[in-house]
Symmetry: C2
Subunit: 423 residues, 2 copies
Amino acid sequence: MSPSATYRPMDDASLRPYLGAIPAVLDLLGAEPDRWRVREVGDGNLNLVFIVEGAEGAVVVKQALPYVRLVGESWPLPLERSHYEHRALCEQAKLAPGLVPDIYHFDRDLALIVMEFLSPHIIMRKGLVRGIEYPRFAEDIAEFMARTLFGTSVLAGAAAPYKALVAGFAPNVALCRITEDLVFTDPYREAPLNRWTSPQLDDLALSFRRDAPLKRAAQARKFQFMTEAQALLHGDLHTGSVMLTPTNTRIIDPEFAFVGPIGFDVGAVLGNLMLAYFAQSGHETTAGARDGYREWLLTQVTQVWRRFEQRFVDLWRQASAGEAYVAALFADAAGQAEMALERGRFMRRLFEDSVAFAGLKMIRRVLGLAHVEDLESITDPNLRARCERRALTLARELVVNGTALSSMAELTAMARNIEQEIA
Amino acid sequence: MSPSATYRPMDDASLRPYLGAIPAVLDLLGAEPDRWRVREVGDGNLNLVFIVEGAEGAVVVKQALPYVRLVGESWPLPLERSHYEHRALCEQAKLAPGLVPDIYHFDRDLALIVMEFLSPHIIMRKGLVRGIEYPRFAEDIAEFMARTLFGTSVLAGAAAPYKALVAGFAPNVALCRITEDLVFTDPYREAPLNRWTSPQLDDLALSFRRDAPLKRAAQARKFQFMTEAQALLHGDLHTGSVMLTPTNTRIIDPEFAFVGPIGFDVGAVLGNLMLAYFAQSGHETTAGARDGYREWLLTQVTQVWRRFEQRFVDLWRQASAGEAYVAALFADAAGQAEMALERGRFMRRLFEDSVAFAGLKMIRRVLGLAHVEDLESITDPNLRARCERRALTLARELVVNGTALSSMAELTAMARNIEQEIA
């Protein structure tokens, strides 16, 4: 898709008159655009992000660039991703109010969204590097996932609005393609943009590229990712897509949104918590200094899953308009009992999916193109490689043998063992 | 969707000048439209079908009505289904040339397709009632399914064209809704349009409505039908959608097309063959007169599956452009061996899906709104009910316990037992 004729990347000079002409934004910031403070703060992989502060308040302006910022103009990327992000934010705001930023303005031609400036929120990943505990996180992210994933499925509602989402997001091909390549394929072949801590991890990178059962499992999950249209996913739900304080959680950046397998979002959260877990020994000032925080992270893994499962099943039990599993068919006692079993089967399947996707998300962050600050901020390559080796060891197990796990407690026990045993 | 302003149901008088203005059709039929013979022959549930014969040749004109013909104007149905049928026919013609009718003209506003007049082909279901063997059928239908289902999946090609199919057919909501209701839901509740041979089958109809494991299984398959976007399905692949001679097979009527689970098409074929099997004792002039034909029908069940499985796996093995299971990842010996195992797993999953969908398609034809001529043409209600009871007995087993079957041979053995044991 070629950029629209009116598209131009914004800067300080162009942003002031542009925002000044939007009454809602002018109200929020206060008049006199010349006196606003404008900063470009984008540190993600894809977009421009401005914070604009006025006398009355502040807003964030997120604008898509026609290429992947991390790589450069050689990797073009459609501006239309901004439309999908905006549409997903609107769906999520309806289903999970208070858990996404408020949207003030959207300009499809400029691929630009003006949204709430979240303060004093920080990107969760940065908080995890610093060792900050977030007492609301597990409950909030579980609530966000349960409400948005259940709520956009045919378990909750009719086929027609669900199919409108399917059709509406299916053209978000380019963003899905990034996931298809970078998560499911590139770590398992010699892709030019792969990188890893070398030479320390050369042995594992090579063995993963030769690991037929792992590649088989990764590609089976890719097929599932491409074809299992269960719900409208966030699509990139790592800890860099969460901004929070100890008392407030917001989910941002759903530009990878499409209708896909529920476990992909859940797995993204779990996998990134486990990356943070294995990164802790790289951030300890003295050995064991982060023991308590490490345990807090594993507790998040079990709690996110437990709470998500509870809320998803609760919503399902209360739903009466879902066109799959028509409630009226199961109104009697035998039907109720059967549906309780079926919900258990469904959640077990989601558990297995989530565990496998978690493993795949971990691997791509260590062997693929895009890495994470949890590990990248460990400057000693030997220390970093040790953390990464542990992460890869657990991740492979989750991808290849995750369906044998009985519970998240078994998974966290496995993580604890690997942390202790792999030097 | 309201009918377009120019839509009008065609008749003898309006069809002549309309077709006469289409050069390709005029060429086929020969000039002098007034001397053409026009017959309306639609005996399906939904549409007008005309055969138009001229001095040079003949064509079929299929036109959608804005309601369900079987029920009447009280059940409106979008004319746009004609567009989906036309688009599916075009996809199928590309992938499985020679196995669908040629298309001469499509008029989206009139919801009208002018297509090849197939002669001396008859609707397969009518042939099965008469006891006719079709030596090419198993191979041709298997080829059609393997080519169209594999060919529209991401096993064969890229995400972008696949997602264009997903988006393009997702709005075919109304036709999918018919399947969702009539196949997966209505037979299991007191739906006003349900009918069955009564009072003979009242006990089974009641027990199915109270059968929690059966309802659970039916609704789990409904969820799969609604969400598992594996390939562009025909969507209504029963023996009434096949026209054939002993030497030529054509698949017609894909107006229910959408991107769904592959096993739904395969199951439709298998289920309808088994309905034909159980109907035979209602068509025998003397007991045992159709023994040979019965066995021929069971042989078709095993051959359709075996041949489909072979061809699907062959196509997969030869494919190099599939974006799921990227071939380059599995180029070495270990990769080849692993992919052989994976294809086996995939086909086993398709086997289980197909068996369950077959059972559901059988049940809806006995307890739901739309019945089949195989059984309806048995005029003695006691005799018909005996055939139907056997069909329902096998079908329930396939839906609830089909995943325990090791092979199609085990399924056909079960059918044989039921035929002999249930009086």
